[in-house]
């Protein structure tokens, strides 16, 4: 077998692997890059060959703990080191790495080889199991979301009590977790309690704990959630639904940072950060006398209001993209995207259940769709019944194409009126003008204005 043939066989073997593999020279230039490496990094072989591996791989360990450098230094292979790379789309990809040295016939070092496995699916499954969602799961680029992101680092660092208001399904718990995960308390517990899910007596025992014998059936001591969250964050969801008696007890915790387990004579001090959330308008509840004013002001030190999905429609394509990626990883599928009709339908739907409803719609479509792209017949019937739209592009749409299509559609429906179209899309007019220009969209002339780009 000649050298060329051997080389071709070698390439076929590398490309058949499900693990990414690349080789480098001793001065870190990439000499081989297999198909799985292309898929995981998003970078083609042609672009990668000859480049410095850190500029292609951009892993979290490149600077401080490069596995290949360790292998070159020690002469020993590395097995199963973990790291995160950022692919060319800005997505974080968790990986597991192994390395080895390449030598010539005389045993001289001629380079190194690194193989890596994509752990995104494992991480997604762990997230789903442990409900370990983070800031990365909050998707949005709309003005409303950017205003919230602007506050987030300062809010997280402050340690102050936060009240998050917003309709159901807008991601209040995600924000609460993001605040915790970005805060100095992130290494301690995040404890979530749904205040509306339990009757008052049970809620009291859950939150404050009890001593054995405090009441009938209290056979053992029980640690309350406040104590459990000591040093960390407690998330009190549906705070607007707690009883007046419970409001008084909560006020004491917030004022004095102490809890009194049922049946215990002494108070225990706790160091907790409280993040509360409600889908009700707490100020109105205060005005109508259903919620204590003093507690309201204790909770509302920092106030965040999450927008409905219909008030940030421009985020819908991004959310669809994010959810398709998520369910592909969770269900081991390879759905490419949604059809133009589906995208148009989702873009105009009002989503009373907000992001949670969109997630449920995509999840149902994943069950019904075996592969390829999500079509109208994969959506719930009430969505399919909507009609009256013009034919949309065939085939699956990527994020950019989806955005272009929606903007063009809105302009058509609004007869070229840009301000109206911007309102419909939930974006400001300046953003719409910029997007019309960047997508080179033809604006219809029907409103009497000049045909412009």
């Amino acid at each position: 077998m000649d050298q060329d043939q051997r080389r071709r066989h070698w390439d076929v073997i590398l490309d058949s692997l499900n693990e990414g593999v690349f080789t480098v020279t001793p001065d870190w230039r990439i000499t081989a890059f297999n198909r799985a490496a292309e898929r995981i990094t998003g970078i083609s072989r042609q672009e990668a060959i000859g480049k410095a591996c850190c500029d292609v791989f951009h892993a979290s360990i490149c600077e401080k703990a490069c596995a290949l450098r360790r292998t070159f230094q020690t002469g020993q292979p590395v097995f199963n080191a973990t790291a995160q790379i950022i692919n060319n789309q800005g997505q974080r990809v968790p990986i597991r790495i192994s390395t080895a040295i390449l030598r010539d016939d005389r045993g001289r070092v001629i380079g190194g080889v690194e193989s890596f496995q994509d752990l995104s699916q494992v991480e997604q499954l762990q997230k789903a199991l442990e409900l370990r969602y983070t800031f990365e799961d909050i998707v949005g680029r709309s003005n409303a979301m950017m205003q919230l992101f602007r506050m987030l680092p300062q809010v997280a660092d402050s340690g102050s009590t936060v009240l998050i208001e917003g309709p159901s399904g807008t991601g209040k718990e995600l924000f609460a977790r993001a605040i915790h995960n970005l805060s100095p308390r992130r290494r301690r517990r995040f404890v979530a309690v749904n205040c509306a899910a339990l009757p008052d007596t049970l809620l009291e025992s859950e939150l404050f704990g009890h001593k054995a014998g405090a009441f009938t059936d209290a056979r053992r001591d029980k640690t309350g959630r406040f104590e459990w969250a000591d040093g960390g964050t407690i998330f009190l969801d549906e705070i607007g639904d707690i009883s007046p008696a419970m409001q008084v007890r909560l006020l004491r915790v917030l004022q004095d940072h102490v809890v009194e387990p049922l049946g215990m004579l002494r108070s225990k001090s706790v160091d907790i950060r409280v993040v509360a959330a409600t889908n009700k308008d707490l100020a109105t509840l205060v005005r109508t006398g259903h919620f204590r004013e003093d507690l309201y002001y204790r909770i509302r030190v920092i106030h965040m209001v999450l927008p409905s999905l219909k008030d940030r429609r421009e985020d819908i394509p991004l959310l669809i993209d994010h959810l398709i990626g998520k369910f592909n990883r969770l269900q081991g599928k390879d759905i490419a995207g949604v059809s133009g009709d589906v995208a148009a339908c989702l873009m105009t739907y009002d989503f009373p259940g907000n992001v949670r409803e969109l997630e449920n719609i995509i999840e149902q479509a994943f069950v019904l769709c075996r592969g390829g792209i999500i079509e109208m017949h994969h959506l719930p019937p009430e969505l399919g019944a909507k009609g009256g739209r013009s034919p949309s592009p065939s085939g699956s749409l990527n994020l950019q194409a989806m955005e272009k299509y929606f903007i063009a559609e809105s302009l058509r429906i609004c007869k070229g009126n840009r301000k109206k179209a911007a309102r419909e899309l939930g974006i400001d007019a300046a953003t719409l003008y910029r997007k019309i220009k960047s997508h080179a969209i033809e604006v219809p002339e029907a409103d009497g204005r000049g045909r412009r780009r």
């Binding site: 410095a52 979290s60 600077e63 950022i86 990365e136 680029r141 680092p153 997280a156 950019q400």
Partner: protein, 121 residues
Amino acid sequence: MRAAFAIWNDRIAPQFDAARQVCIVETRTGAIVHEHLEAFRSGLPVNKVRRLVELAVDTLVCGAISRPVQALLMAQGIRVVPFVAGTLPDVIQAWLQDGLACQRFAMPGTAKEKTTDMNRR
């Protein structure tokens, strides 16, 4: 105007989320008036964002950056020029001459038009 260049070994650091140092460059009428290195005390990306805000940075030039961290920076009003590769002096020079869009400074697999558009979003 004040720009931060995420660096490692006198090159643009491969990943901003894991970068440990930035070079702060202050310019007036197109010329550098001050330049210094700033080490991040915390490895947490959100703390790096906070630090750049404290340093009144207008622009961050960096290598790969995750979308959420880029969104956090953009929300703070910091312009992000991501997926840049090259040696620090070359990149600073190109930035001063508004030449970072040149393919020479693009990380492999990242067309400049795409990253600029992502920045606008």
